[in-house]
């Protein structure tokens, strides 16, 4: 979505994507013929009314749902054709998730929650520790490593979730209403953090939000209404490193 001087190649190419759900015997189309490019390093905001298909599109991009038709090419690989196991491995190495309600494991400490994706890698315990400590330092929670989620505020929990999302150095971060459950101050902290991930670490971010202030952080905003991508508006452009 960069309209910048140095356009990066499309990291995600979505073509003619369609998705419908069956409700009470009726087929309800959610997405119809979506075509979209997301370039490496983009920060894309997806907005639209409830039920417009924002989260469905995000889930499809993140590889946790399958479309009825169309293709999603991630760096040239059509993830809609990947099998269950391949898709799980792809997600583990490529996508970081930030959820509205954080989705941390209540029985694991902040450290263990952040370490969780790394248990899927071949890194040694010592290497994992170095990565986790760096990630928690990045989100400003080095002092809270041993705390359980219930001992942290909502904003802190979301920062732990962000640390978990970046721990395996994914190229794509998907965020579904990351500030939807936070007060204004915590939301601002989380958005600032997401901004840093994009600008400092070059992460490609796709974020679903209802929050105009959150959307303003994005390089571009796409509107979804009744399953169709209606407009795209550059909110503000930034120079990319």
């Amino acid at each position: 979505m960069h309209a910048a001087e140095r356009p990066a190649p499309a990291l995600i190419r979505i073509r003619n994507l369609a998705k419908s759900y069956r409700r009470g015997g009726q087929v309800v189309p959610v997405l119809t013929d979506i075509t979209l490019d997301v370039r490496a390093g983009d920060f894309l905001g997806l907005m639209g009314p409830s039920g417009s298909g924002k989260s469905t599109l995000l889930n499809l991009i993140a590889g946790i749902d399958k479309p009825d038709a169309g293709e999603i090419l991630f760096d040239g690989v059509d993830i809609t054709r990947l099998g269950e196991r391949e898709l799980a491995d792809w997600r583990a190495g490529t996508v970081g998730f930030v959820f509205q309600f954080y989705n941390l494991m209540p029985v694991l400490t902040a450290y263990e929650n952040v370490e969780l994706p790394l248990t899927l890698t071949r890194l040694s315990r010592r290497e994992r520790r170095a990565h986790v400590e760096a990630a928690l330092a990045l989100v400003g929670l080095s002092e809270r490593m041993a705390h359980y989620p219930a001992e942290l505020s909502g904003g802190q929990q979301q920062r732990v979730a962000i640390a978990r999302a970046i721990i395996s150095d994914p190229r794509l971060i998907v965020a579904d209403e990351p500030t939807g459950d936070l007060d204004r101050h915590s939301a601002a902290e989380v958005l600032a953090l997401m901004d840093r991930l994009n600008t400092d670490l070059g992460k490609t971010i796709v974020m679903v939000t209802h929050d105009r202030r959150a959307a303003e952080r994005a390089h571009a905003i796409m509107y979804l209404d009744k399953g169709e991508l209606s407009t795209a508006a550059d909110v503000h452009e930034r120079s990319v490193r």
Partner: protein, 388 residues
Amino acid sequence: MPVPVAYSLRNLWARKLTTVLTAGGMALVVFVFAAVLMLDAGLRATLVATGQPDNILVTRRSSGTEIQSGVDRAQAAIVESQPEIALGPGGAPVVSKEVVVLIAQPKRGTGVPTNVTVRGVGAAGLALRPQVRVVAGRMFRPGTAEIVVGRSIAERFEGTGLGERIRFGGREWTVVGAFDAGGSAFDSELWGDGEQMMQAFRRQVFSSVAARLADPGQFDALRARLEADPRLTLDVKRERSFYEEQSQAMSNFISYLGVTLSVIFSVGAMIGAMITMYAAVANRTAEIGALRALGFRRGAILAAFLAEALFLALLGWAVGIAFAAAMQAVQISTMNWQSFSELAFRFTLTREIVVKSLLFALAMGFVGGFLPAVRAARLRIVDALRAA
């Protein structure tokens, strides 16, 4: 890659009450299962310890027990004269011609008469049973109306204390000693002089002939010769085999009844575990969705929930086996249906029982946890995440 074990373990800890109740149900089943096996092992150990590996026991053919057996003096003399029989220090064969009868004796406390085995032993009776040690008083003197009593008898029957007199066979007998037979069935017997018992009970025949082999390897040759001898209608068995057979009927009964009960109880415990694990899956649907989104495969989710059910079973096993182990302090007595006499024995915990009960508990955990684990693994990620 599996979900970390800490996740499964700490979830058990997080819902302590449910964990304790479910594991408690499993512990009860493990306790019953282990206790029954311990009862069986105790019975077998008691009767097997009664026989010595180099001793033989000769009884009337097909008599099954010493009570039903009869070996006349001529037959006993033929057995005694066989070359395979070991000779004692004085050159006499190590043979005990024995008479075994039942008397009814009241139990201490209740006064309920119960069958007790009285054994009249020959001169070599004690030498044949090295596990028998006189622990109080002294051994009876041959040719007198003196008796010694087994440890279990002295504890539980009236008139069997040291110095007390007991009446049976038309005579009064004086208890001059108590012996410890090392947990064998002899602990549940009264011993006196064989010839005196023959007279008292007006017996013309012995019940059995016990003898020591000079070389245990010669048993087959001796048995073949004695059983082929037309003058003898006798069964020749190794003493250990004889007593093992004595435990068979009761052992089978205990095993079948106990295992059947345990299996029935285990169905309840497995349903309990299943309900607990289904509840765990329902309560953690969003967590499952997040784990799957992070890249954990369906197999890892299945393994995590199955591991949780197995840890639950392991906890139940540890508690159940601990209580069962405490049962070793308990001595019980019952009627041995083969000899119709009182037999005292202890619950005996063996390595085999520990392993069997562990496998039984894990099987309960596996069966109880499998379907909920499959359900967790089959959840669609987007549906699971919506549960947040």
